[in-house]
Symmetry: C2
Subunit: 153 residues, 2 copies
DNA sequence: TTTCTTAATTGGAATTGTTCTTGATAAAGA
DNA sequence: TCTTTATCAAGAACAATTCCAATTAAGAAA
């Protein structure tokens, strides 16, 4: 199903301080490091193209294809989450806590929503017994408090 | 944000028995009826192309573009839900109950998961006070009981 | 360090699901 | 019937993403 043969398990090896730690299978290249930095520097869920623009300031020669590759690698390493809302371009998020995403239809911003009780969630779902859950994605659309208050756009 | 000017409110007017009821703005055409029938006849969350193939047996002249149009209209009328899982092609679902979707990574099937307590869900999310929620999408990936049991593929 | 091996990067072409455009048709209302 | 408007069909267009082949750079070994 996966296009390339990524290992099933994420390669988060929480290595040396500050240093990224991709799985042992992945090399830590300048491009990957910069892409990751961009994501952590501004946690606004940028698209691949937005990441591309930002990384380009520090690595002028980088190509969009490489940004896609890096994002894919980081995602498979478990360091980054790909966020898909409806059919919009994918966005990327370095928040590793389990959380949901809120999409404000007014200002377009996407924000993280903490999950107070991940267990309560599972029990709210009538999953057939025996199901194995690997991943749960929760996407909420609506209007954020700022926009409700009229601080619109 | 929406490409065409659909009314904001869904047009479910639960009309005459058995008969579909699109909003007053929409006509119930043969194509729309057949597309809807196909969705209710086999609730396996087909893609637009799959719907196209199925409808074509009964309306040979129909085009894929029309299927897309019908699905869009039905979705905006609130009779059908568009289901987006990751970046895969959209799928369509005539289940109007609030529910989540389970995607089996082994057999690929997508099944509906009832929400036992929609309120419990909201309270499990740490939404900033004042947020307006319009829609919540929950997508679970994993392995379904049948595939866990070895009835794989 | 230098070499060696293999993975990663590039740039452009290709793919894919979906949407748009245009003209023809058909239905609804006057 | 006449007019108006929505819908349909076919293909072109589009945008996000992926693929491809040649080049470059990491990290391991010598």
């Amino acid at each position: 199903m996966a296009r390339k043969n990524f290992p099933d398990a994420p390669g988060v090896h929480s290595g040396g301080e500050g240093g990224l730690a991709l799985g042992p299978e992945f090399r830590l290249t300048k491009q990957r490091r910069e892409v990751f930095e961009v994501l952590t520097a501004q946690r606004d869920h940028p698209t691949a193209t937005e990441v591309f623009v930002r990384v380009k300031e520090r690595v002028p020669g980088i190509s969009l294809a490489t940004v896609y590759n890096c994002l894919e690698t980081l995602t498979h390493s478990g360091l980054v989450r790909q966020v898909n809302l409806d059919r919009a371009p994918s966005r990327y998020c370095p928040n590793l806590q389990e959380h949901a995403h809120f999409h404000c239809e007014s200002c377009g911003r996407i924000s993280d929503v903490a999950l107070q009780d991940p267990l309560a969630l599972e029990s709210a779902l009538a999953l057939p017994p025996g199901s194995q859950v690997h991943r749960t994605e929760i996407a909420i659309s609506g209007v954020c408090p700022a926009c409700v208050g009229g601080n619109d756009k």
